[in-house]
Amino acid sequence: MILALIVLLPLCGAAIPPLAARGGRDRAAWASGIVTLGALALLAGRATEILDGGVIRASWPWIPAVGWNVSFMLDGLGLLFALLILGIGALIVLYARSYLPESDNLGRFYAYLLLFMGAMLGVVLSDNMLLLVVFWELTSVSSFLLIGYSSHAREGREGARMALAVTGAGGLALLGGVLVLGHIVGSYELSAILQARAVIQASPLVSVALGLVLLGAFTKSAQFPFHFWLPHAMAAPTPVSAYLHSATMVKAGVFLLARVFPVFAGTDAWLWLVGGAGLATITLAAYWALFKSDLKGLLAYSTISHLGLITLLFGLGTPLAAIAGVFHILNHCAFKAALFMTAGIVDHEAGTRDIERLGGLRRAMPVTALLATVAAAAMAGVPPLNGFLSKEMLFEEALHVQFGGLPGWLVPTIVVVAALLSVTYSIRLVRDTFFGAAPTAYPKSPHEPPRGLRFPVEVLVAACIAIGLAPGLLAAPLVFSAASAVTGAALPSYHLALWHGFNVPLMMSLIALVGGALLYRGRGRLVAAHRGALPVVAAKSLYDAALTTLFSAAAFVTRNLENGSLQRYLALLMGATIVVGVSPFLVRGWAGGGPHSTPIDAPTLVAWFLLVVTAIGTAAFHRRRLISLAMLGTVGVVVTLGFVHFSAPDLALTQISVEVVTIILILMALHLLPKTTPLETSFMRRGRDLLIAGAAGLGVASMTWAILTRPVRSIADYYLANSVPGGGGHNVVNVILVDFRGFDTYGEITVLGIAGLGIFALVDGLGVGWLHPDRSQLQDEDQHPLILAVVARLLLPFALLVSVFLFLRGHNAPGGGFIAALATSVALIAQYVAFGVGWTHRRLPRDFHPLIGVGLLVAGLTGVGSWAFGAPFLTSWHGHVHIPFVGDIELATATLFDLGVYFAVIGAVMLILSNLAKLGMREALLARARERAATVTEKLEAERDVAENNFDYGEEV
């Protein structure tokens, strides 16, 4: 519980500073400080337990089905990192308050900072790899916000974007790696994965997992060749840089290396990949750092170099190297945070960070100069400071490593060269800033910074000295507990100490120090040589080129696919569908022609012929819309006959009633649309469309044929067997609709209702005043045919009776709510057709919305009703009821549900049709009003009346 609290405190606490900032920036700083220290106190409370070798775990299931738990673990490694994150975090909170301009009220800044802090804590305390990935991505996102904090500056935005692109992509790779690991091990729990080294190493997927995980680690910790984002992230405010590049963000990468160390370390692949990346990074970055004139730029490259050092140590894979790596993580945090903060102080007080324009600041700020010198000396590895200790350990390990087939002297030499370069840039950092001649003028007159800026540096520098002098006392317990968590095994006895006697590593240190100093003296020549050297292909330009290519490719694709023509989109969509549909036929072969074949009889052949002719006719005559529609109606009738023939009475009933309603609907719409379609497409275009249509038809036909001739394996037996005993109905189709799959039906009538309301909204919002030019005859002036009127009026009661009959028997014979509702609707629509809108509207409810609501309510309440009996939603009950004259009826609660369906369907269908009818009426009335209006004013008035629905629907027939 306490572990989750440590992570959640900053994450949730991120909401506080923006609120507190309303009361002033100091309140925001206090709030953040209290949150940070609170989490630190919680952590410290459990520290001794961990240092004694304990591990704390806490786990809650999240999505257990996929092995995703919210589980946390605090071991030595997690403790070290969490202490650094919170400890340095607290110092940053203090530093940022003094550093950021007064005009900034800091609410947003501290919110981002706490969010980032929580995400980092989540990474280092997660016991579930998937959870770790989630926090990992959260660090990428929140660091994006922090780096881009100066969002008004172009560099800030670009730097943030680059950091997000690189580390985000790495996070994606890490997710892949974690999924592979989880697949191999069968669990995403870190504890299980760390125990499964043998299983993982034996798996053929091990190299994939390793590669992906390393991609994640290298991008995050800016290892060559993914280092280029880090210098650009320097656009962030200095407190952010000091935090991200000392204790957190980039350390997440090396944390990951340390975390998976027990699983992968010691193999050749690990040595070459991790050790190789470390070696390349440590040297190249140290070399590049020499030529940076921006203080933060120099520190950025030195950070990359030191991360390379840590990576190299973990890459070596020995327990001692692991101890050294962990120790250097701690040391680097202390001096690098201090140096970033001093760079910030210089910038803050002198107004520039450009080394070329700095110098002699020791007179203006002697204390800061001293602090910076000590911190830089620690970075350079000068005894007796902490950096010296871990660098000695690196030399020691480099001497003993067996790096594949490389000669034994190579690795130590590279390491010494890197150390030498590091000495040079450290001297340059301090000497060119604080010593030497001062420039004639600074943008600001420099002086010692306020307490809030210097105090954090003092703390960190004190740590550098103290750890250097008494490593066994101060750092050893933490480092050893972390290192044993890294290796996952007992550590060899090693004594952290300043003095190990006169030995080779000491000689190497001396060479580096002296050589570095000499190089600093002769740096002029080096700079000249560097300038004359071949232009280095910068990773940044490759990144930019890749980005540009990506964007222009995307633009090209968009331009060519998305030209604004819906016809083209549809053609592309159809073409793509055909390709996707055809490919399985080609790959998996053609399996048709099985046992099923029904003999062809003459009526079927005739029906088939009729269907084919009318379907083709619908398309062929589409420019003459009424003929096309008539053809479509015939298709519908043949489809109905098809259902009759192939044993689907319910479908036939549904289809025929829907057919009537649909055709009437389309006719009504056609009344308001042009009656013909202009010929617009070229011959070529029609040919192309025919080709696509033909291919689509052929594809679907083959698919249908393949299915029809394959053996059938249906789950129908269950429904057939349970329909009567379970659902109380003999009509299995209806029982499926209202009982077995009642929830689906409930959804579907809801959709139907929504469609009806949507149509109502569309019609309601229609502007009046538009009349299609080719409207010559006004329908409402026609006499309604007398015979039709008489028949329709006579028919109504019978039709309603039939629909009740269909409804009641629906559970046991063809019929049911859907069909009954459609039959009722057809009967009502017949009145519209026979008597006109005006007459019908006066006799029928104008509003059909409530009916939809009633239907949904009845169906929903029936479902909810089963809760009262302790059964799940929509559980049905049934029993026999005897109704006089009708007979023995099997009544089920499903019938009540069906009643809901009945109302909802009537409501939706009638809502749709009555609205269209109203629309047609309104247009006609408008036209007539216009004709009769004598003056312009009257005309406008009439239009307004119609628009406001203040009109009477026609005269009675």
Partner: protein
């Protein structure tokens, strides 16, 4: 019979797709209706073609037709109606608001 049924579905799809690719809204609506028929038939085909059976439990019946595709198609027919109606009204609305019934909302160059 299977060949007839399959080819009928194919013809419905072909005619429907051809209409879908037209430039005016009304043929597109008709095309959608045709494709609805085809899709319903296609889903129906999952239960195979059976003649002279029923999905209704009775003492006399010896075999039944597969009721599941029928139940699916039944709701599909009704939902298909709602979709056709909605697209139709959308087409009407576009025609009212834009003054033409081209699918892109504007007639091609050279015509108004």
């Amino acid at each position: 019979m299977e060949v007839l049924f399959a080819s009928a579905v194919g013809v419905l799809v072909a005619a429907g797709v051809y209409l879908l690719l037209r430039a005016r809204t009304f043929p597109v609506v008709l095309g959608l209706a045709l494709i609805s028929y085809a899709v319903n038939f296609y889903i129906f085909a999952m239960g195979r073609l059976r003649v002279g059976l029923e999905p209704i439990i009775s003492e006399e019946a010896t075999a039944y037709v597969d009721p599941i595709p029928q139940a699916l198609v039944l709701t599909a027919i009704v939902i298909g109606f709602a979709m056709t109606a909605f697209v139709l009204v959308l087409a009407l609305r576009a025609n009212f608001d834009l003054g033409n019934d081209h699918v892109d909302g504007r007639p091609p160059e050279g015509e108004r």
